[in-house]
């Protein structure tokens, strides 16, 4: 975690900007992982909640002149309630059907961003969203935003780790492994799933608000179906059911395209191939695959050492 203090070493503003995205994506991946990795419920619409947080925050501050610090929790509250209401009927569905329902939800939200032009600015986006201010500091540069975003990201990580290792986290994992056995032991799986869906949406919304206030411009394209899938990939590549894995997955999928920029038009092919290879050889995700790889290398070194 000392990594957090180090980065001012790279003075280049661009990399800091990318690292801000790593932070935001980490929050989103953790939010989705709580739902998918712990509770075992899929969502293909999480970009929608991310977008709702961004737009609610953006609209409340630009059109209605609300203070960003008030707009963020307001947005999170609205998104949480909405997710709770939708979650009740939707989470009765299982597997493919839940995937379809959440996919539809994400698409509906995306269409709303595009069509309600008088609120959202439609496809051309919403600009002039104010930066956050705290104790006289305006978070308007990449370095300042970096600390802001990573402060919140670390808080979200800690929050999620606590949750995962608690009574509620165990109940979630229990529902994942055997819902009927969890129910027999007194776990109200229905309420629990709705709760975690709402919490996941709230964290996504918070990430969306932070995104809006750091970028100051948002447009629907950032919150489409593609991004929901990208989040899903981060969670799976990083490691299901691991908070730290979500960070690894988010970091890899955010940084990789930047590093592959040198490959010009081939970048997308290399990117795709890397993902396939990783899923094939690290089915438990990076968080389990990397230690296993090191163990393998260590074992091999041991062998050659003896010979």
């Amino acid at each position: 975690m000392l990594v957090i203090v180090a980065p001012p070493l790279f003075k280049g503003g661009y990399l800091m900007n990318v690292l801000v995205f790593v932070g935001i994506n980490t929050m989103l991946a953790i939010a989705l992982n709580l739902l998918l990795g712990y509770a075992g419920q899929i969502s293909l619409g999480h970009a929608g909640f991310f977008g709702l947080g961004a737009y609610l925050s953006g609209i409340l501050t630009t059109t209605y002149g609300l203070n960003p610090w008030a707009a963020m929790p307001a947005a999170a509250g609205v998104v949480g309630c909405l997710a709770g209401l939708i979650g009740f009927p939707i989470l009765k569905l299982k597997g493919h059907y839940l995937a379809m329902a959440t996919l539809g939800l994400g698409i509906i939200i995306y269409i709303v961003f595009n069509e309600t032009v008088e609120f959202t600015g439609g496809p051309s986006g919403l600009s002039g969203i104010p930066n956050l201010q705290l104790a006289g500091i305006t978070f308007d540069s990449d370095v300042k935003n970096y600390y802001l975003i990573w402060g919140v990201t670390l808080a979200v990580m800690l929050f999620s780790l606590n949750l995962a290792n608690s009574r509620v986290g165990r109940a979630l994992r229990a529902v994942h492994d055997s819902e009927v056995a969890a129910q027999v032991l007194g776990v109200n799986s229905r309420i629990l799933k709705v709760q975690i869906f709402a919490l996941s949406a709230v964290i996504s919304s918070l990430a969306g608000s932070l995104y809006a206030h750091t970028m100051t411009f948002i447009s629907p394209a950032s919150f489409g179906f593609n991004f929901s899938i990208e989040l899903l990939t981060m969670v799976v590549i990083g490691g299901l059911g691991s908070v730290f894995g979500s960070f690894l997955g988010a970091a890899l999928l955010t940084l990789l395209p930047e590093f592959l920029r040198g490959a010009n038009d081939y970048d997308i092919i290399i990117y795709g191939a890397l993902l396939v290879v990783m899923v094939m050889f690290m089915p438990g995700g990076l968080v389990r695959g990397i230690p296993a790889l090191f163990r393998k290398i260590a074992a091999r070194k041991g062998e050659t050492g003896h010979a």
Binding site: R167, R170, A171, V184, L185, G186
Partner: protein, 251 residues
């Protein structure tokens, strides 16, 4: 303790259970036996709230619990185990039993995530309680193993430990001896008696006749969805109807 009356279950056109009634006394070990397809597991699924029956009522300690969801029944101190053990395979043995303490703890989602002081002390209590039940079932040495990696016999003990952590007044066991070797079955018989000695009423569906005759105070025999006989092990062993059902008629 537990009273079922007029339980009928129809699946499509098949009547799996037909007007089954019986009462189970507090503190008894009661065995439910019968040939395959007699409706034993269906009966358990109805009593434990997993199926909704076509007709009939279930009374638990005098209270009508017909159609209540399993998680509500757990709060009324009734718990069950499954024929094909349903463990939380990705969690450790200790964590499995800690889930059993769910109804005996109350920290909410936010309190847990913010690690409030009362959650920390509750967590300690949950851990201690779970450890106690692992000792009771004799698998404390496996606490840190992944539940999914346990051999079947140990998994069975874990499932029982987890159910006991609910602190039930009645426990339903669906074929607890299935898949166990004779050594393990002997241990299971002792364990069930020790559970009864805690004041917990035990009801088991079982095929292992030796076990049933050895430990049960009363036996209920089902055949083709109907109650065929009810009584002490000796009465059942001597009942001509039961012998006919198991060995076939001469006709």
């Amino acid at each position: 303790m537990l009273e079922v009356s007029g339980i009928t279950q129809v699946f499509g056109g098949v009547t799996a259970l037909d007007d089954v009634s019986f009462a189970i006394a507090k503190g008894d070990i009661t065995g439910v036996i019968g040939p395959n397809g007699a409706g034993k597991t269906t009966l358990f699924n109805i009593i434990s709230g997993i199926y909704r029956q076509s007709a009939g009522t279930v009374l638990l300690e005098g209270k009508d619990v017909t159609g209540l969801a399993p998680e509500r029944l757990a709060r009324l101190a009734m718990v069950r185990t499954f024929q094909n053990i349903e463990l939380f395979g990705g969690m450790t043995v200790l964590e499995n039993v800690m889930v059993g303490m769910h109804t005996n703890s109350s920290s909410g989602l936010l309190a847990c995530a913010l690690k409030m002081p009362w959650c920390i002390s509750e967590e300690r209590r949950i851990r201690g309680g779970a450890g106690k039940w692992l000792e009771f079932t004799g698998i404390a040495d496996l606490a840190d193993h992944t539940a999914g990696s346990l051999p079947f016999g140990k998994g069975r003990l874990l499932e029982i430990a987890r159910a006991l952590a609910v602190e039930p007044r009645i426990i339903l066991m669906d074929e607890p001896a299935a898949g166990l070797n004779s050594q393990e079955t002997l241990g299971l018989a002792q364990l069930i008696k020790r559970i009864r000695d805690l004041g917990i009423t035990v009801v088991l569906v079982e095929h292992d006749m030796e076990l049933v005759m050895d430990i049960c105070d009363r036996i209920i025999v089902l055949n083709l969805g109907r109650k065929l006989a009810e009584g002490t092990p000796r009465e059942i062993q001597e009942s001509p109807e039961v012998i006919a059902a198991y060995l076939g008629d001469d006709e």
